[in-house]
């Protein structure tokens, strides 16, 4: 049986859950942001593994015979993995770093104002 991507999907789900564990249980603000970053990495791994097809190479056409005629096009199509999830993940990673940067800016300001990184100290607005 061709090796499926259970391993990669399993690792990805593991990463997501570990990320959420940090987010939901750790008191330290930085740990929470770190948890989100790890969860994002997990999601990205999951999406790329969705598009992976065993035994196929990267979606880059590097020898001329690949597109000389119509028949070759179909051959080439059968040679590469799905490029779309990779495009999506490329965007998702950069969004991840963007959000992380903004969160860290918030954490720095919160520390400067609250003098602590404990998330429970920042719960004044309630009810």
């Amino acid at each position: 049986m061709m090796a499926g991507n259970e391993l990669y999907v399993g690792t990805a789900i593991g990463l997501i859950v570990i990320g959420f564990v940090a987010v939901l249980t750790r008191r330290n603000l930085l740990k929470i942001v770190l948890g989100f970053s790890i969860a994002d990495t997990g999601v990205n791994l999951l999406i790329v593994s969705l598009g992976w097809l065993p035994g196929r190479t990267a979606p880059i056409v590097d020898d001329p015979s690949m597109f000389s005629d119509r028949a070759a096009l179909a051959v080439n199509a059968a040679r590469v993995v799905d490029p779309v999830p990779q495009a999506l993940v490329l965007t998702a990673i950069v969004i991840g770093v963007g959000v992380t940067a903004l969160m860290l800016a918030y954490v720095i300001r919160l520390y400067a104002v609250g003098g602590t990184l404990d998330v429970r100290q920042f719960g004044r607005l309630k009810w």
Partner: protein
């Protein structure tokens, strides 16, 4: 108590997600992916299919993507606009090796980064990756000397002009090629695997590379000097 509830909830979530594993099994290319795989090279003459997808087929996403990064950096600068009043513990001066190494390595790193985003349509890599490498070069300078005078003006102009360049390329596509960010009628698609091929894709990716590079550099600078003085620009 809340911790236990959280862990139990996450375990259940893991099981819920694991139920999706069968869907994730490899099952061949979708209808859209099939077209990209077959005609990707034909449509844009670009060797790197992912780059064709990122810049041309789903170019609008990438425009959104660049906006996200631009917004995050501006947002971070906005959030950190006030003097934080944190006592700044003087960092240890970088060792001699790092300082000289930084001066030596900065140029090659930037060159390598430029190579990456210029060849985005041929080899793996592109605007985002190249930009990040260039930014790491700037990072090296900042590590060597925290108060290294960064050319803020230059960075800001690069960032704005490259962003405008991207939008201009899109509008050119609208004007010449019939729809926003189209890759027809602006630059010749050229022949496959040449540097000047895939029409406007390398141009757009170069703009993206420059923008990401300057933005990440600004981001590093903003975060490093968050405590020092009010960020006014």
């Amino acid at each position: 108590m809340k911790q236990i509830v959280a862990v139990v909830a996450l375990a259940t979530l893991a099981i819920l997600l694991w139920q999706l594993a069968p869907i994730a099994m490899p099952s061949g290319l979708g209808v859209v992916a099939q077209h990209y795989a077959e005609h990707g090279v034909q449509d844009n003459r670009g060797a790197n299919l992912v780059t064709s997808v990122v810049v041309n087929y789903r170019g609008f996403d990438t425009l959104g993507e660049v906006t996200v990064l631009f917004l995050s950096v501006s947002g971070a600068a906005f959030v950190l606009r006030r003097r934080t009043g944190l006592e700044v513990h003087e960092p240890r001066r970088a060792s001699e090796i790092v300082r000289t190494g930084a001066r030596l390595l900065f140029a090659p790193i930037v060159l390598f980064g430029t190579y990456i985003f210029v060849h985005g349509h041929l080899t793996p890599g592109g605007g985002f990756q190249g930009g990040a490498v260039v930014a790491s070069g700037v990072l090296l300078l900042l590590l060597a000397n925290k108060d290294h005078p960064l050319p803020h003006g230059f960075l800001s102009w690069t960032e704005s002009l490259s962003g405008l360049g991207f939008v201009a390329a899109g509008l050119a596509g609208l004007w010449a090629g019939g729809s926003f960010l189209a890759n027809r009628g602006i630059l010749p698609l050229g022949t496959w695997n040449q540097l000047f091929s895939a029409g406007v894709i390398p141009v757009i990716y170069t703009f993206v590379g420059l923008k990401v590079g300057s933005e990440l550099a600004t981001l590093l600078d903003v975060m490093m000097h968050a405590a020092d003085e009010e960020v006014h620009q």
